[in-house]
């Protein structure tokens, strides 16, 4: 196939009026993706966005590609069928913390486990927006919402830990305040062969405004974001004075001055064993203390759709293309004469 034609953001936008609340973090994610697509060198007709239900799931209507706004939680399952049937397509799944981790949690972990060739972007705003403000499976304990006037009792999921627990082959986190970081992360996710999972911290300015303020405000970022860069020692802080070490107790944050630069954990996305990545995902108890951001894990593994396709090709090679008459006569048969 020849190279994709040159496009601009406009080519990837639809004529549909965007209907998120003014100031919603979803706008910046949409803009990041629409601006990124021309750079990925992909074709509109070969790109499909599939979503479930929720604010984030309106996303496909705004992308001038093929798209399906499906039903609550089922996008990973629908996308699995599509990606397995059509390994030639670029299939994106847009989901949220309620859609992907509550009603659709089962489909999400199984899409990751199978390593279906999907780029899954989960908008995490720690709240139900479309149903007007109930707590979500990523809301902190004690969250006071319409459905939890006395505070929520549920312990939250950590989406990165969950994805790593399902042994996803690509796991990353980014946030809606940094277009460059989003685009770099989405590019890596898109280029990954297999299931790529990206959590995007996204602000819901109506029902959960400022949920990530303590780590994402301009002032907080240097202090509370821990950038993960493959092959680099993990360190952060305004002066790079903090770092992450791995010792007998697992990973922990330390002062570089205390432990020495040599003792800092060098980030390796490609570790086959997800345990260290999992430990990194547990560094912060919530988005109010130093939190890793970037690619946690990126390993090579056979993707499901290609493997399915290969089985078909092998079967055709071995047995020849299907012959219906032969199939119908494949059991024991007998013939009744025509009486002549």
């Amino acid at each position: 196939m020849p190279d994709a034609p040159t496009t601009t953001k406009k080519d990837w936008s639809t004529d549909q009026e965007v209907r998120w609340c003014p100031g919603c973090g979803d706008y910046s994610i949409l803009t990041a993706v629409q601006m990124l697509m021309p750079d990925l060198g992909v074709r509109r007709e070969s790109t499909v966005f599939v979503s479930g239900i929720g604010c984030s799931s309106r996303f496909p209507y705004y992308m001038n590609t093929y798209g399906m706004h499906s039903i609550h939680g089922r996008a990973p399952a629908i996308a699995t069928g599509l990606a397995v049937a059509r390994p030639d397509l670029d299939v994106w799944v847009i989901t949220g913390d309620g859609d992907g981790l509550s009603i659709g949690g089962n489909h999400l972990i199984h899409a990751l486990r199978r390593n279906v060739n999907l780029t899954i972007v989960l908008f995490n705003n720690q709240i139900y927006g479309l149903t007007k403000g109930q707590y979500s499976p990523t809301s902190e304990v004690g969250k006071v919402t319409k459905s939890t006037p006395f505070g929520s009792l549920d312990r939250p999921f950590n989406p990165i830990s969950l994805a790593l627990g399902a042994e996803a082959t690509f796991v990353a986190r980014t946030h809606d305040m940094d277009r460059k970081h989003m685009q770099a992360t989405f590019t890596r996710a898109y280029e990954h062969k297999g299931a790529a999972f990206v959590e995007v911290y996204q602000n819901c300015n109506v029902f959960n405004d400022g949920a990530f303020e303590q780590i994402l405000s301009k002032d907080a970022r240097p202090k509370n974001l821990i950038p993960l860069e493959h092959g680099q020692p993990i360190r952060f802080g305004p002066e790079g004075e903090k770092g992450v070490v791995l010792d007998g107790d697992g990973v922990r944050i330390a002062d570089v001055a205390d432990v020495g630069e040599d003792k800092l954990l060098v980030h390796d996305e490609t570790r086959t064993d997800p345990s260290v990545a999992f430990m990194l995902s547990r560094l912060a108890n919530g988005p109010y203390e130093p939190t890793p951001i970037g690619v946690f894990r990126a390993i090579q593994a056979p993707d499901y759709g290609t493997a399915v396709q290969q089985q078909l090709l092998d079967a055709q090679e071995r047995r020849g293309p299907g012959d219906l008459a032969k199939l119908l006569a494949s059991g024991s048969t007998w013939t009744v004469g025509n009486g002549k």
Binding site: T14, D15, Q16, R43, R44, E45, S46, T47, V48, V50, I53, P60, Y61, M63, T65, Y66, G67, M68, H69, S70, I71, R74, A77, I78, A79, T80, G81, L82, A83, V84, A85, R86, D88, L89, N106, H107, H110, Q311, L312, D314, A315, Q316, R318, R319, P321, G322, L324, A325, L327, L328, A329, G331, S332, T333, W334, T335, V336, G337, N338, G339
Partner: protein, 624 residues
């Protein structure tokens, strides 16, 4: 060998016989019945089978709950059902005897494995007294055969441990019945050789037990006669013995070939539908993709995703699985994409009777979704008919871009009959075309693709698959504007779309054959059936006519929409009766659609209708 036995023994010719093999679920009764069926099919009998097994894989040995049975009806003429009552019962233990004896007519034969009639086994089966001694079997011809002892004796030379060798006793029983009914031995010996090729000891011990059973019949003076059932005069052609699930799976493969589209099956294992997944997963060289999904919802959702990608998405399930798929079926109604939902009905509600048959999902298929969400319904009538029903369901789904329910049931799924192989060239072309060009204009007159601009004839929308340049579009579960497919909350538009979706499905009536009536001049009673009751109803109709009474029979394959002539048909008879394995679901539809006083004849026992039951019901209706 006692020569006298062979010399004095007579051979009787029978036009048909019904044999039931019964034992513990671990005794291999399904396999025994299946082998006897295959040999009879190759011999040229017409036949029909009824496997009947518990949901538990291994219920406690020797108990009534653990009894597994397989009934086969063989004949020298065209038959339609597995038979109402066995002429012969082979019972491997007291529980098998107790669970089945009440189904036997007086005069029937009972062949018992006498070795298992010890006190403990009798107690486990709930017998207070030994039925062999208390006279309760008077009226039956009882043959007491020490099957376990003779099997162990025969298998001795293999060196197998007695516990293992004993497991071959079902082959001893098979050998004995093979002899009794003059079946050839070679096909079974060959089959044993192939099936157990990897385990020499088991292969030998099964072969030896089979031969020992055969020779026992010949040698022992127990049996006064043997029986012959001559081949049936079936229509000329090549036949195979086929179960409903296999026929259905092959029908799906055929549909893929006829549509020139790959098929994708998303399915979660569930009894009694799993065999379709098993069968389809073998045929990857036909381009068949099968996904064992994480749950029932993902099964149908992945199938719908594949349909969006331009393949024919299929999901198979049963019982509770259908409930779980409802939301996605509704989405498919809204997306207007082809999708097959195959329901192998079983007893409900909830887990119900997983291995038993029922027809109680008709109204679920018809109405089991929120909102106005019409879905066409096709039902299979016999095991072999499952093949054609699958092709017809696929045809409707593809042509009208709609989900279609295909209803089968446990009786068809596991039952088998001789099936004349169709010539693939005679099967219909069901191919459809994808959209390739813009079909309208958008803002400022620019060319545009309108995903909901319908074909005026079929009301189907264009099917534009990803990968087609210029036809990029978004669809979803929100209400769409007529034509453009854009989200629309406009009240009048919603009503128009609801009516368009209904009209599209209703319009399929123009594209299906009229229902054929097996009519009889002067008949006042019309029996209307659907699905798997075909055989029992037709057999009952023949018996009623043999008594000189008049009755007509119409059997429905299309349940939504109904054939266009059905209204006229049901109004042509003063009395209409509807036998169903539910509490009257079709009769309810007929009453509401046609204002006809359709009388329900209902049976919900997890077992198919007996011919005699329907014969009586029809006669009562005639005389009423």
């Amino acid at each position: 060998m006692t020569e006298t036995a062979a010399e004095t023994r007579s051979t009787e010719e029978l036009d048909r016989v019904v044999i039931r093999f019964a034992g513990d679920s671990g005794d291999g009764m399904q396999l025994t019945g299946d082998r006897f069926t295959s040999v009879s099919a190759l011999f040229g009998n017409d036949l029909s089978t009824l496997p009947d097994f518990p949901a538990e894989i291994r219920a406690p040995a020797g108990t009534l709950a653990g009894v597994s049975a397989f009934q086969v009806h063989i004949s020298d003429h065209d038959i339609l059902t597995p038979g109402d009552a066995p002429n012969v019962l082979v019972a491997m233990n007291p529980a098998a005897l107790r669970a089945n004896i009440n189904d036997l007519p007086v005069g029937a034969s009972v062949i018992l494995n006498i070795d298992s009639f010890d006190e403990r086994s009798l107690a486990k089966a709930g017998y207070d007294a030994n039925p062999l001694e208390d006279g309760s079997l008077d009226g039956f011809t009882v043959f007491e055969v020490p099957m376990t002892t003779l099997t162990l004796e025969a298998a001795k030379e293999t060196g197998a441990k007695p516990r293992d060798a004993e497991r071959s006793k079902n082959f001893f029983a098979l050998g004995l019945v093979t002899w009794l009914y003059h079946r050839p031995v070679e096909p079974t010996l060959e089959w044993i050789g192939e099936r157990f090729a990897k385990n020499q000891m088991v292969e030998q011990s099964n072969s030896l037990a089979f031969k020992a059973g055969y020779n026992f019949g010949e040698t022992a003076e127990l049996f006064q006669a043997t029986y012959e059932v001559k081949p049936a005069a079936l229509a000329p052609g090549t036949y195979t013995n086929i179960s409903g699930n296999t026929a259905l799976a092959w029908g799906l493969v055929a549909a893929s070939q006829l549509a020139k589209l790959p098929i994708f099956l998303g399915s979660y294992p569930i009894t009694p539908a799993s065999d379709i997944l098993h069968e389809l997963s073998k045929h990857k060289n036909f381009g068949v993709r099968t996904l064992q999904a994480e749950d029932e919802i993902a099964g149908v959702a992945s199938a719908l995703g594949a349909s969006f990608g331009g393949q024919l998405g299929i999901t198979t399930t049963s019982g509770p699985g259908i409930d779980l798929k409802s939301e996605t079926v509704g989405l498919a109604v809204s997306l207007e994409l082809p999708l097959l939902i195959i329901d192998i009905q079983r007893g409900g509600p909830s887990t119900g009777l997983p291995t038993k048959t029922e027809q109680a999902d008709l109204l679920h298929a018809m109405y089991g979704r929120h909102g106005e969400a019409p879905v066409p319904i096709v039902a299979a009538m016999t095991p072999g008919h499952c093949f054609y029903a699958a092709i017809e369901a696929a045809r409707i789904a593809l042509k009208y871009r709609t989900p279609v329910f295909l209803l089968s049931d446990g009786y068809l799924a596991n039952g088998a009959e001789p099936w004349m192989l169709p010539n693939p060239d005679d099967l219909p072309d069901i191919s459809v075309e994808f959209a390739t060009e813009p079909n309208g204009s958008g803002e400022e007159g620019a060319q545009a693709f309108l995903p909901y601009l319908r074909d005026p004839e079929t009301l189907a929308r264009p099917w534009a698959v990803p990968g087609t340049p210029g036809l990029e579009h978004r669809i979803g579960g929100l209400e769409k504007e007529d034509g453009s497919g854009n989200i629309s909350y406009d009240p009048a538009n919603h009503e128009r779309m609801v009516q368009l979706r209904a009209a599209k499905v209703a319009g399929i009536a123009k594209d299906i054959p009229p229902v054929e009536v097996d009519r009889e001049e002067g008949a006042e009673v019309l029996v209307v059936g659907w699905g798997s009751t075909y055989g029992a109803i037709q057999a009952a109709v023949r018996r009623v006519r043999a008594r000189g009474k008049k009755v007509a029979h119409a059997h429905l394959m299309h349940l939504n929409p109904f054939p266009a002539n059905l209204a006229q048909v049901v109004h042509s008879y003063p009395k209409v009766m509807v036998p169903e394995m539910n509490l009257g679901q079709l009769s309810r539809l007929l009453r509401s659609d046609f204002l006809v006083d359709a009388k329900s004849v209902s049976k919900v026992q997890g077992q198919p209708f007996r011919v005699a039951e329907l014969e009586t019901a029809i006669l009562e209706m005639i005389d009423a």
